[in-house]
Amino acid sequence: MKHISEGILRAYFDEALSEAEQKRVIAHLATCSRCAEKAASIEARNARVRASMAGLSSPYLRAPMEAQVARERLRDYVYEKKENTMLKKAFSRRYRPAWVAVAFVLFFAVAFSFQPVRALAGDFLALFRVQKIEFVEADIEGFDDEESFREVADTLGSFVEKEVVVKSGGETQYVDDMATVRSLVDYPLRFPKIEGETHYAVEPGGSASMQVDIQKMRLLLAELGYTAFSLPESLDGADVDITFGTSVVVSYGGCPLHIEEGESVEESDDKRSCTVFMQIPSPNITAPAELDIDQLGQAYLQLLGMTPDEAATFSQRVDWTTTMVVPIPNFMHMDYREVQVNGVDGTIIIYPPSYHSDQDEYMLTWAKDDIIYSLSGVGDTATALEIAASIE
């Protein structure tokens, strides 16, 4: 005899079934004690939960303010929020390069859940050199919106602040001419040909190192909601090191560059002509030997919301030692696709029009000759590729 699934039974009590299905359920329950019992338990549970949920209403609380009044309040609210627009955040120090930091921390949070560490000091391999960047949509429960993402970013941010030792090669240098920039950097620089006010920022390289503290790692993962990963004790104390070279950020047109937290930005039409070009030498990552990279990669993808099957499929076509996989939370409504740029595969992300811009905004990223490039501005794919084509 075929029994009735829990879902159908549940729907039956909500009168959400078709007449035919309803009849089938009634007929079956009359003859099957097992299903009748299950149905009774579902109905009882439904009633209990319904009572709990209904108990949330309070007759004593005041009614909300009138819509007309609220509409005025909304104007103030929007104004305050405008101070933190997406564009400004993208250019501010804290979020640049936004996804790289998140990707790295997540990656290493997972990295030490596999394989015991061979405790031989110095027996480390230069394991990764980024030659390609790939973006993947992250569908993580709890990442439904900017608010929860910001909370996660803050959690990760404070973890990194406490656990990662960052050594910087010096202060950012702001320069206005290309010749000086070239003299400050020891690798061949490339620039697009763009008209307009040009400013260069030279960010000295540095290193980020961390000694794994298992307890703190576990707490972090738990706080982020991941309870399925177990970290072996042997990983406690392992050393991870990331070194990165000098990077150059150039802005063309009127860009709000030196924005500190809390400073307000004036809305200006200049944003339409603001284009930002970054070049960052591929970071060098050293980590303990005996890491099962592929397993790591798949675990990372699963953290981002893929099923084990999806992760395995994706992982098959990715060389984890040369590809950096960066997550894009699906709430951000960004579209992205692969394009050819400078003779290599790149990815372009398009952010649809919003309050402060009636055009698309783009971010075009690619890696070539061990350097990661990123070009962002206002416009569509064609605009982006045109500018990229002028790079030399």
Partner: protein, 188 residues
């Protein structure tokens, strides 16, 4: 997710055409929906001031990033409102809201016929909110939407799931709710 450039062009042109009427559409949407959105949030968070702030956040998001298709406005609002409300409950959880206020419920009004029952009622409410905050967001949203009175079809539309899955997911969510409820309830 891969899109073709045609999709982008079409989407952008639709938005530009709507630009002139966009503000009018928003004003109407605000006027029509402000009250019930506040209601949903009030039910969820239990505090009128907080509910209004959260409702402002919902309409701010509507203003900034409206749904591509305004026909789906109600679904969109349901989804975002429950989302925003649950985030607020979860933030409370992080700030140890419940530890701080446990046992400190006092009634400002002394005119309750049965103050003891009122205290008990509020403790129960706090527990239910804590349970919701501990559940996976999707499951909590499902419960809230169903108990707000939405049909299976409306729930499916709001959460972008197959209508046929609603029953199963609801059953699972309710099981989870009970399990957490028992776990979080203060021990006798």
């Amino acid at each position: 997710m891969v899109i073709t450039s045609n999709d982008t062009a079409r989407r952008v042109s639709v938005l530009i055409d709507q630009e002139s009427g966009q503000e009018d559409v928003f004003e109407a949407a605000f006027a029509e929906n402000w009250d019930w959105v506040c209601g949903v949030l009030l039910h969820l968070v239990g505090d009128p001031d907080e509910a209004e702030d959260l409702a402002l956040e919902v309409f701010y998001r509507l203003h900034e990033r409206p749904p591509g298709d305004w026909q789906t406005l109600r679904s969109w609002l349901h989804r975002v409102a429950t989302n925003v409300g649950l985030n607020a409950l979860r933030a409370r959880k992080r700030r140890k809201y419940y530890e701080e206020t446990a046992g400190k419920i006092h009634l400002r009004q002394s005119t309750f016929l049965d103050p003891a029952a009122e205290v008990e009622r509020r403790e129960e409410q706090q527990l239910v909110r804590e349970v919701l905050a501990h559940m996976k967001p999707r499951a909590a949203q499902l419960l809230i939407l169903r108990h707000t009175g939405l049909s299976y079809a409306e729930i499916a539309a709001a959460l972008n799931i197959a209508p046929g899955s609603v029953g199963t997911m609801l059953a699972r969510a309710e099981k989870k709710f009970e399990r957490l409820y028992r776990k979080l309830a203060p021990q006798p």
